[in-house]
């Protein structure tokens, strides 16, 4: 506690030396950022300065940031995933018409995919029709909005990270309102892992392609010949490609971390 107060006093003492709030001439606002604001439209024809700085002027940093997200997903996977388990000891089925729950022990006869039995977990609750129908209606619109945010990052606030998180959140919403098994049937864990790696590969692949065409790594101007446009538009298209790669990686890793965390590695139950 004493340490915290001392640290706070130290920081408070530093407050005196800060520049005024909103000063246009403070040291943070000079130098490089002035160049970025004044020259982004002539260099890249992308009005959103944040996107152009993130994906073009500082694109190398963003590539490693995407790799950090992938590394976090991998760390969660390796920490929590258990070894391959045999079939669980008992399964539970519920007769839809009468509401009777069957509990079938090991070695019993399991009703196959029949229409009158549904498989439930131990966290099943009744009266969830409103949630299920609402989620089913709203998730497609959320995904379209996420795609809009990703691709419109050039002209409005948005971009790859923001749209990717919204897209991942739609899958997590689906997994929360239904059960984890239904969501895993739609988007399996293997698919999320492969998509995460594919997003990072898309980003680095664009950079490698620029290098193979003769320019520096991640210098999108080299794509001008391949895409058939002039230099400035080539940088704009290059930004779009890497933003799509980032969005794929971010959404896949969000869902992957959720799958691993919510079921503690077992991936058959959970919320």
């Amino acid at each position: 506690m004493v340490i915290v107060v001392m640290f706070g006093c130290l920081l408070g003492y530093g407050v005196f030396y800060y520049p005024d709030w909103g000063d246009a001439e403070s040291p943070a606002n000079r130098h490089v950022s002035r160049y970025y604001i004044e020259n982004t439209v002539t260099d890249t024809s992308v009005p959103n300065v944040v996107t152009s700085v993130l994906a073009d002027y500082r694109g190398y940093d963003t590539m490693f940031e995407t790799t950090v997200i992938l590394a976090a997903g991998l760390a969660c996977f390796f920490l929590l995933k258990l070894k391959k388990q045999e079939a669980p000891l008992c399964r539970m089925y519920r007769h839809i018409m009468s509401g009777i729950t069957l509990r079938i022990e090991k070695g019993g006869k399991i009703p196959e995919d029949s229409k009158s039995f549904e498989r439930i977990d131990s966290v099943w609750v009744p009266h969830d029709l409103v949630i299920k129908m609402t989620t089913r209606i709203i998730v497609p619109f959320l995904q379209i909005f996420a795609l809009y945010v990703i691709t419109h990052g050039h002209y409005s606030p948005g971009g790859g990270f923001q749209g990717g998180v919204i897209f991942g959140a739609t899958s997590i919403l689906f997994a929360i309102s239904f059960n984890l098994r239904t969501a895993s049937a739609r988007m399996s864990e293997k698919a999320t892992a492969i998509s995460g790696c594919a997003g990072v590969l898309l980003y680095s692949g664009t950079g490698a392609l620029c290098m193979a065409l003769g320019a520096d790594f991640l210098n999108y101007g080299a794509l001008a010949g391949t895409l058939g446009v002039d230099q400035v538009s080539a940088r704009s298209h290059g930004i779009l490609i890497v933003e799509i790669g980032v969005a794929i990686a971010v959404s896949a890793v969000m869902v992957w971390i959720y799958y691993n965390l919510s079921s503690a590695g077992r991936q058959n139950e959970g919320l």
């Binding site: 506690m1 976090a72 969660c76």
Partner: protein, 136 residues
Amino acid sequence: MADLFMSGFISQYNFIGVVILVMIGLYAMIVKNNLIKKIIGMNIFQSAIILFYISAGAKKDATIPIIMKGRDVVHAADYINPLPHVLMLTAIVVAVATLGVALALAMRVYLQYNTLEEDEILDIIRKKDKEITESK
């Protein structure tokens, strides 16, 4: 003299707010016993740092950093500084990633020791160490 001092101090209330949040986050990380509370303290600390950078990039009478249509000459004083926003996007993403890994680690600790209180975990570890050194 004293009121000049206080006005210079109070007018930068954004930085004072950041300092208070940093102190709250540090307090939660150091003093609290539960692991989940420590993780939440880490998150508060990260949010405070993000707020600090964003507030340092604001400018008076400036708008969001999206170049308005139809301007030929762009003045940098019309738009707020985009560079802290870009760096803090990275910081937010890293915060989410470390939160995910921290929660996975906490889950592992719980599965191993069956408790999430730090002093109980340290007691169990000390007992195991004593048993190992005594049995040698």
